[in-house]
């Protein structure tokens, strides 16, 4: 299985501010009644974006100035809560290709990398500076340089955080682990046989 090497993501940004934005907010549970991930995009942040009657609430993702943004900015502990892959799937299908936040919840982070959607961290002050830039100029281009662990916007370069394993996986095109895991099957059989339990 050969996948694209993800060395950088370029696009416009939109900021959904707040800390501890949980997966129930990213995709409310009632939209998980599905047997495929198709169509999840329109439900990203649904309850934050829509009133009970389906009309729009004021929300950055409804703001026409940020339409077409493909890089999401947010606060700390982004994606906490459940392990539902529906959350990064809905963001990806909404059109996001990278997320920049102060920190990420672990399962959400792993799920996103497996989709090939880089999640990088910036310190709070720099995130705020970046958010201020795109608030002033929504057309500003952001480059998430995965390879060099940098975020570049409006002529400024910020040093971003990305753990080694995710960095490696993205830049070598091995962000979906399945090919590597299948390669290890002979050794898997050895471990299976050595375990004292089978159930």
């Amino acid at each position: 299985m050969s996948l694209a090497k993800i060395t950088s993501v370029t696009g416009r940004g939109v900021c959904v501010p707040g800390a501890d934005i949980d997966t129930d907010r990213i995709i409310p549970a009632r939209f998980m009644k599905c047997v495929t991930f198709d169509g999840l995009g329109e439900f990203a942040f649904y309850d934050e974006r829509k009133k009970a009657d389906g009309s729009d609430k004021p929300h950055p993702l409804n703001d026409p100035r940020f339409k077409g943004a493909s890089i999401l900015l947010s606060g700390s502990n982004f994606g906490c809560g459940s392990s539902r892959e529906h959350a990064p799937q809905s963001l990806y299908r909404f059109g996001f290709r990278a997320v920049i936040a102060e920190s990420f919840a672990e399962i959400f982070f792993g799920n996103s990398i497996t989709l090939g959607m880089p999640c990088v961290t910036l310190p709070r002050a720099e995130l705020q500076a970046l958010a201020a830039v795109i608030e002033k100029d929504p057309k500003a281009e952001i480059v998430v340089e995965v390879q060099n662990r940098k975020v570049i916007c409006a002529g400024k370069s910020y040093v971003a955080g990305l753990p080694h394993s995710a960095h490696e996986a993205l830049i070598t095109g091995k962000w979906d682990a399945i090919a590597d895991l299948l390669e290890g099957l002979p050794e898997v059989a050895r471990v299976a046989a050595s375990l004292p339990y089978a159930i």
């Binding site: 907010r25 906490c80 892959e85 996986a169 399945i178 895991l181 898997v188």
Partner: protein
């Protein structure tokens, strides 16, 4: 060299180091349910792969099952499609499925231990974040995403970075009316909702030594709410006594060998931890949440915090919480009016939880105007509760007694809050919209405290409401 349980279990299950530095880890036992598995089977089919070790995967249906009428087809066509899809996948790939008519169906984290599938020294994965529950048995158990469910089905392994271990000691004694739920809510309040990031929590100390398995499960269940991917308690005689005789546990001479092996997986005295936290049981009071994440919690006799008195990083979430919860800084939480009470979930839907609530509410009645439901965590729990007369006690006291499932813990079935109803809930998440209404409000607490809210109609101190 002295090793922790985590290291021992990790080492026996590590297959190899992957090119990106992560470990290919063997998953000894895999649990699946209807919400996070269908897409995984879809990907498996797309790749032309098979389930490698079908006997290592067990399935149940829990999130979408209605708890009042169980006849199929379900009235919700999407829910109906999901159960049918799971049934078909299990049939196609030869996976054991605890279906609705099996007598064994229930919330995946209640069914695993109940059937003896969950055992010490295992690695367990499930496409559900509360898989940490199984750590109560001394297993390394974690929630995974759907692509990883696919990975485990296809290869019985997954790519994972090794965690650090944080030992949490709770010593001393718990006061009257202080439960396992209060212990974990307190731990999360102290360490924060992301205090466990990158860690496995090892719980121990005198309070855990005395805890029953069900109490240990309640604590391990909510490890993820503290940011820890897994949490565990070292296996001991309490663990073995619970497992003895359960369906999938070893029998006869095999049993004795298993116990010996399990005992040896416990952390060695003197092993090194990356972090140690000490808490006194006496310092914990009945705890309730007031906000929109499980770390926003206070003791029942405390007043709600002033956002400005909190650390700067917590202030914006606190303000958001006050707006959503329609509560005011500085006011007491006691006396807050409730509309709905929910007893159930993989945190507190086990027999001992129902026994305790039944004991307390006997002779009391649910306050007029409050909707009260009790949802057993599994058909096994349901059967025992009925045989023991607990169900009758609940009905007499004005509770609705339902069938097994996740129910109002996340409201993927018809049990939902309406509008901005406020629910006193024994579940594990108080996120905005979690219980089915975007403006619904949730206050997490122990089942005994939920019982007290049920009979008084307001958030109350169970120790004052029930004198026994």
């Amino acid at each position: 060299m002295a090793k922790s349980l985590f290291e021992k279990v990790w080492d026996t299950h590590a297959v190899r180091t992957l090119p990106n530095g992560q470990t290919q880890l063997f998953v000894g036992t895999h649990l699946i349910h209807e919400v996070t598995s269908p897409q995984a089977f879809g990907m498996l089919r797309d790749l032309g792969l098979k389930v490698l070790y079908p006997k290592r995967t067990f399935a149940t249906v829990d999130h979408i099952v209605p708890t009042n009428e169980r006849a199929e087809p379900f009235s919700d066509p999407l829910a109906d499609a999901m159960i049918k899809e799971l049934r078909k996948n299990c049939r196609d790939f030869d996976i054991t499925f605890f279906d609705l008519n099996s007598g064994k169906q229930g919330i995946v984290h209640i069914v695993g231990p109940e059937q003896g599938i969950t055992q010490p020294g295992m690695t367990i994965a499930c496409g559900d974040s509360h898989t940490s529950t199984h750590g109560a048995f001394g297993a390394i158990a974690f929630g995974i995403g759907t692509s990883q469910v696919r990975d485990v089905l296809a290869t019985q392994t997954m790519a994972l970075s090794k965690m650090k271990v944080c030992r949490i000691n709770v010593d001393g004694k718990l006061g009257r009316g202080v439960y396992a739920k209060d212990v974990i809510l307190h731990i999360i309040r102290e360490l924060g909702v992301n205090g466990g990031l990158g860690f496995a929590y090892e719980y121990g100390g005198e309070v855990f030594d005395r805890f029953t398995m069900e109490e240990r499960m309640t604590v391990c269940n909510m490890s993820i709410e503290g940011g820890a991917r897994c949490g565990y308690v070292n296996p001991d005689d309490t663990t073995f006594a619970y497992l003895k005789g359960r369906l999938y546990c070893p029998k006869g001479a095999e049993w004795n060998r298993a116990v010996e092996r399990w005992r040896a997986t416990a952390s060695d005295p003197g092993c090194k931890y990356d972090k140690v936290v000490n808490i006194r049981g006496e310092d914990i009071s009945p705890t309730v949440t007031w906000g929109i994440n499980p770390g926003q919690a206070i003791f029942i006799h405390e007043n709600l915090p002033e956002p400005d008195s909190l650390p700067e990083k917590d202030r914006s979430t606190a303000r958001e919480a006050f707006t959503h919860m329609k509560l005011k800084p500085g006011q007491p939480i006691k006396g807050t009016k409730v509309d709905v009470v929910f007893i159930g979930s993989c945190t507190n839907g086990r027999l001992s939880d129902l026994q305790e609530v039944a004991r307390l509410v006997k002779g009391h009645h649910v306050k007029a105007g409050v909707k009260a439901i009790v949802v057993p965590g599994s058909q096994g729990v349901s059967k025992l509760a009925e045989e023991m007369g607990l169900a009758d006690t609940f009905r007499e006291a004005g509770f609705e007694w339902r069938g097994a499932g996740c129910s109002m813990c996340l409201a993927m079935n018809p049990d939902k809050l309406i509008g901005d109803q406020l629910c006193a809930s024994s579940s594990n998440r108080n996120f905005k919209g979690r219980q089915g209404s975007p403006t619904g409000r949730t206050i997490l607490m122990s089942p005994a405290m939920v019982a007290a809210a049920a009979v008084t109609g307001v958030v109350s101190d169970a120790r004052e409401v029930f004198k026994n």
